[in-house]
C-alpha cells in the first residue's frame, strides 16, 4: 500500500522527479483556474445572474464575512491568501472521491509547503500592519524571558498545521484502502462520505487557524 502519493514517480529526468503529488496539484490548480476563468467570462450586474457567477459570489462573500468576523478587520487584505488556502485544500479533499485521484494534501510535502506559507505570511502581515518594531514587541511581551517560548510556539503550531491536515486526509485514504481489503462494497463508501465531511472541515480549520494566527499578529491593541 502506498502511504503517500510522493512514492509514485510518473516521470524522471536526471535529478528531477515528477511524482503523483505534483501532477495532482497541477490538476487541482488547473481546475480552479479554469472554473474561475469560465465563470468570470460574462459577468453581469443585473438581476439575471449566470449560474456560475452566483456560485462564486456566494463563495467569495461567505469567505469575506467569515474573515471579517474572525479578524474584526477589513477582509480585503486577507482574502487572497486565506481564501486561496481554503479553496485549494477544499477542492483537493473533495476530489478524493474521483477514482484514481489521490488528494495532494495526503502527502506531507504539500501540507508542509502550505504550513510554511502560513509561517511566512504571519510576520509579513504583522510587519505591514504594525511596523517592524511593533511586530517584534509581541515576542518580548510581557518579559524578554518569553522569547524562546514564543518562537517554539510559532514553530510547533506550524508543524501541527502540517501534520493535522496530512494525518486527516491520509487517514481517510489509508482506512478506505484497509477496509476495501476486509469488507468490500459497503463500508468503504460510508467512510468515503465521512472523508468528504472531514476534508471540508479540515480545509475550513486550516483557513481559520491561518486567519487566527494572522489576526493575532496584526491586532494593534488587546488580544493575545
Amino acid at each position: 500500500m502506498r502511504i503517500s502519493p510522493d512514492e509514485l514517480v510518473l516521470w524522471a529526468w536526471g535529478p528531477f522527479r515528477l511524482n503523483a503529488t505534483i501532477v495532482y496539484t497541477w490538476a487541482v490548480m488547473a481546475m480552479l483556474l479554469l472554473v474561475a476563468r469560465l465563470a468570470t467570462r460574462r459577468l453581469s450586474a443585473t438581476t439575471g445572474l449566470p449560474r456560475w457567477q452566483n456560485l462564486l459570489e456566494v463563495l467569495v462573500s461567505g469567505m469575506r464575512e467569515q474573515i471579517r468576523e474572525m479578524s474584526q478587520q477589513d477582509p480585503g487584505k486577507y482574502l487572497p491568501f486565506v481564501g486561496t488556502l481554503f479553496l485549494f485544500i477544499a477542492t483537493s479533499n473533495v476530489l478524493a472521491v474521483v477514482p484514481g485521484f489521490t488528494p495532494p494534501t495526503a502527502s506531507l510535502s504539500t501540507t508542509t509547503a502550505l504550513a510554511l506559507c502560513v509561517l511566512v505570511a504571519v510576520p509579513l502581515y504583522g510587519i505591514v500592519e504594525r511596523g517592524l518594531r511593533g511586530y517584534l514587541a509581541v515576542y518580548v511581551r510581557p518579559t524578554v524571558f518569553m522569547l524562546p517560548f514564543t518562537i517554539v510556539g510559532e514553530l510547533s503550531r506550524t508543524v501541527a498545521l502540517a501534520v493535522r491536515l496530512y494525518g486527516n486526509v491520509m487517514s481517510g485514504t489509508v482506512i478506505a484502502g484497509i477496509l476495501l481489503s476486509i469488507v468490500p462494497f459497503f463500508f468503504p463508501i460510508v467512510l468515503q462520505l465521512l472523508g468528504l465531511l472531514t476534508g471540508l472541515i479540515q480545509a475550513y480549520i486550516f483557513a481559520v487557524l491561518a486567519m487566527v494566527y494572522i489576526a493575532s499578529a496584526t491586532r494593534t491593541h488587546g488580544g493575545h
Partner: protein
C-alpha cells in the same frame, strides 16, 4: 526470534498501543468540549454561530493529538525505518 521478526512484532504491538492509549485523552477532551458547547448553545441560542465555529476549531485542535498518534502508528506499520534497514542488511 530473529531481528526481523522481533522488529515486526514490536512495531505492530507498539502501533496498537499508540493508537489505543493515544485516543483516550482526545476522546475525553472532545466529549467535554462538545458537552460544554451544547450547554452554551442551550443557554444562548443567539450565539450558536460563534459557538459552533469555535467548537469546530477547538475540536480540530484537540483531535490533532489523536492524529499525531495515528501518524506514528501508520509510520510504524507501513514506513518503519528500522524494518527497511534490517531488511537491507539481511539481504546484502
Amino acid at each position: 526470534m530473529d531481528n526481523l521478526g522481533l522488529i515486526g512484532a514490536v512495531s505492530i504491538v507498539t502501533a496498537g498501543l499508540t493508537i489505543a492509549i493515544g485516543s483516550i485523552a482526545p476522546a475525553l477532551g472532545e466529549a467535554r468540549a462538545a458537552a460544554q458547547a451544547l450547554a452554551s448553545i442551550a443557554q444562548q441560542p443567539d450565539e450558536a454561530n460563534t459557538i459552533t465555529r469555535t467548537l469546530f476549531v477547538s475540536l480540530a485542535m484537540i483531535e490533532s493529538t489523536a492524529i499525531y498518534c495515528f501518524v506514528v502508528a501508520m509510520i510504524l506499520i507501513f514506513a518503519n525505518p528500522f524494518w527497511n534497514r534490517v531488511l537491507a542488511a539481511a539481504t546484502r
